[in-house]
């Protein structure tokens, strides 16, 4: 990388663009964090510095945690996301493996159909899904979300895992077949251990999608104790035209922490999952 050698060049080609990126990416988070610790007087004052806090306060967090059902929303979100992610992942592993490796008649078309299903926007799909949720008597339960989230998670994870499984050499399976393994043993002992980075990145994606999901959570759940964080925060911290900005931002901040923590733990797997590489 000789072209990066001179310090001046390094600044122009590397650090300044990186800095711009960082500022643009992190500013919303900064704003969110600022607002959630700012007392209301400073929030509405024209004289106060909008980018800084003079007297930080935990009042918004207190309001959020003790006067709303936020802990319950958080619990709902965790429960729905985890269960939906794991069931979707399990279904996707079987689907992707079958499509990619069993090569049954019509497997390609099946793969394509699953992908097309992902392209149907939730804003269309929620109407028929609402009818089904009603008929099944699941309206206003967490099950409504746990069972509907896989409609977009499974296509997504299947597609991602298909690509990952494709990168695992076919000979490994043939070799295992001769070694005496059954299909199930091949999947469990050879393919899945090798696909861990793919599984982790699919899992993180699925978890994030479920965590942030809004439209199904808004339509299929109405009582406060069953709401998820994104819906709860919006519906209960906006009263008419009054926005409780401090509490809203505190809710958003707390709500984004678990996903951020998850990403930071698995970032390496996540990258190799996206680039798909099995090294021998």
């Amino acid at each position: 990388m000789d072209y990066l050698e001179s310090p001046m060049r390094r600044w122009v080609t590397l650090y300044i663009p990186l800095l711009c990126f960082l500022v643009i990416l992190l500013f919303p988070f900064y704003w969110m964090a600022m607002t959630s610790f700012k007392p209301n007087e400073e929030l509405v004052s024209r004289a106060a510095n909008p980018f800084w806090i003079v007297q930080p306060t935990l009042a918004h967090f207190e309001r959020l945690l003790f006067t709303t059902a936020y802990p319950q929303w958080m619990w709902n979100t965790i429960l729905v996301s985890v269960v939906a992610t794991f069931t979707s992942l399990a279904a996707s592993v079987f689907a992707a493996y079958a499509i990619e490796r069993l090569r049954f008649r019509g497997s390609k078309q099946t793969g394509l159909a699953i992908f097309l299903a992902y392209l149907v926007p939730p804003s269309i799909l929620f109407i028929p899904l609402a009818a089904i949720v009603f008929k099944l008597g699941l309206f206003d339960t967490r099950w409504a979300l746990i069972l509907t989230y896989p409609t977009f998670l499974i296509p997504f994870c299947t597609w991602l895992l298909m690509g990952y499984f494709r990168s695992i050499p076919y000979e490994l399976e043939e070799c295992a077949l001769i070694d005496g393994a059954t299909r199930w043993q091949i999947l469990v002992k050879i393919i899945l251990p090798l696909a861990v980075p793919g599984l982790i990145s699919a899992g993180i994606f699925a978890f994030t999608l479920s965590w942030n999901e809004f439209i199904y959570a808004l339509t299929f759940v109405s009582s406060s104790e069953n709401k998820t964080v994104p819906v709860g925060v919006i519906t209960e911290l906006v009263e008419g035209d009054v926005y409780h900005w401090g509490a809203l931002m505190a809710g958003a901040l707390l709500g984004s922490l678990p996903v951020a923590v998850l990403y930071s733990f698995f970032v390496e797997y996540y990258v190799s999952g996206m680039t798909g590489a099995v090294k021998e």
Binding site: A176, L177, I178, D179, V278, E280
Partner: protein, 349 residues
């Protein structure tokens, strides 16, 4: 250990036939090499024996048992793949123990068999390593170790040395042969390298275009090829072919060069033939045919002379030390010739 018998085995992919009715019988304990150019169906044949491809017709037997519809794991075979196919997430020990674990062998037995195989292959100190921490040759040994721990009836090798560098290939070739002499397990080995075939095989099956061209011991194929293909494929450098016409006085090639015909060949005069001469059967002699030297390549032990006889590019290998220069004319006398029919490629004499 078991004999392997193929009877009119066929394979088509869709409507494209790739193996056309192959008959091969491999004796118990024999080392059989399937050799041929790429796309000749040799790997497909091996994969059918392994059960990784279904035969479209014919019968395959391992021992007395017909295995056409038997699952790979029930065939009691072990296969070594070209890219080794080692499980990347398992240590060398686990790679070798995998099949035994699946067969529910006892812990002591697994340990004992893996240790024994590792000792034979010189892998004892690498048992705790992962495949990515090994060199190409070591990986190849692990792949073989994985095959031998199972003590199968038949070993199948699918171009196992292709990914190694030239020096290691020669070394592993000897190791595989020594291993076979020690274990005496029936082995079927696929390669496109005729030198590998010649040096390792008890029996060679030369394949071309999905058909068997000839089956025999290495020297049988070398000394007595059935057709142009086998004659040209076996031997390095390859046999020279000079087209000509059969006459009473000999075989007349282009430029009125006359080659002597093998004795006692009942052919009608005027018949088109192809004369085959191995490079090592061309001797420098005053009574020989005039040849124009193009390139001279001394290798130390012998010298390869690329030249033109009767307008045809010909290679000669001579052991004596001559100093020929390009453009010079030398005289080369064929010591031993083969005659082939140009239309069918079959050997005439």
């Amino acid at each position: 250990m078991a004999a392997v018998t193929l009877n009119q085995v066929r394979k088509s992919f869709g409507s494209t036939p790739v193996v056309h009715g192959v008959d091969i019988s491999i004796d118990d304990g024999e080392f059989c090499v399937l050799v041929g150019p790429s796309g000749c169906g040799k790997s497909t044949l091996l994969r059918m024996i392994a059960g990784l491809e279904e035969a479209s017709g014919g019968e395959m037997r391992i021992g007395a048992r017909v295995v056409n519809d038997v699952a790979p794991k029930e065939r009691d075979i072990a296969m070594v793949f070209q890219n080794y196919a080692l499980y990347p997430h398992m240590t060398v020990f686990d790679n070798m123990a995998f099949s035994l674990k699946l067969a529910h062998a006892s812990r002591e037995e697994i340990r004992q068999r893996v240790d024994e195989a590792a000792r034979i292959l010189g892998l004892t100190e690498y048992l705790g390593r992962f495949p990515r921490q090994l060199s190409g040759g070591q990986r190849q040994r692990v792949a073989m170790g994985r095959a031998i721990v199972r003590k199968p009836q038949v070993f199948l090798f699918d171009e196992p040395l292709s990914n190694l560098d030239a020096k290691l290939r020669v070394q592993m070739r000897t190791e595989i042969k020594a291993l076979h002499q020690r274990l005496k397990t029936t082995s079927i080995y696929v390669t496109h390298d005729q030198i590998e075939a010649m040096t390792m095989a008890d029996k060679i099956v030369v394949m071309n275009g999905g058909k068997v061209e000839q089956i025999g011991t290495p020297l049988e194929l070398y000394d007595d090829p059935d057709n142009l293909f086998v004659a040209g494929f076996i031997g390095s450098p390859a046999m020279n072919f000079i087209p000509g016409k059969f006459t009473a006085g000999g075989i007349v090639a282009a430029g009125n060069v006359t080659l002597s015909a093998p004795a006692g060949v009942p052919l009608e005069s005027g018949r088109e033939v192809i004369v085959g001469v191995r490079p090592e059967h061309l001797m420098v002699s005053d009574a020989g045919l005039p040849a124009e030297v193009v390139v001279v390549e001394p290798t130390g032990a012998d010298t390869q002379i690329y030249c033109r006889i009767a307008g045809v590019d010909v290679t000669a290998v001579v052991r004596e030390r001559h100093t020929f220069r390009p453009g010079e004319t030398v005289r080369l006398a064929p010591q031993l010739t083969f005659l082939f029919d140009p239309a069918s490629g079959q050997r005439l004499a």
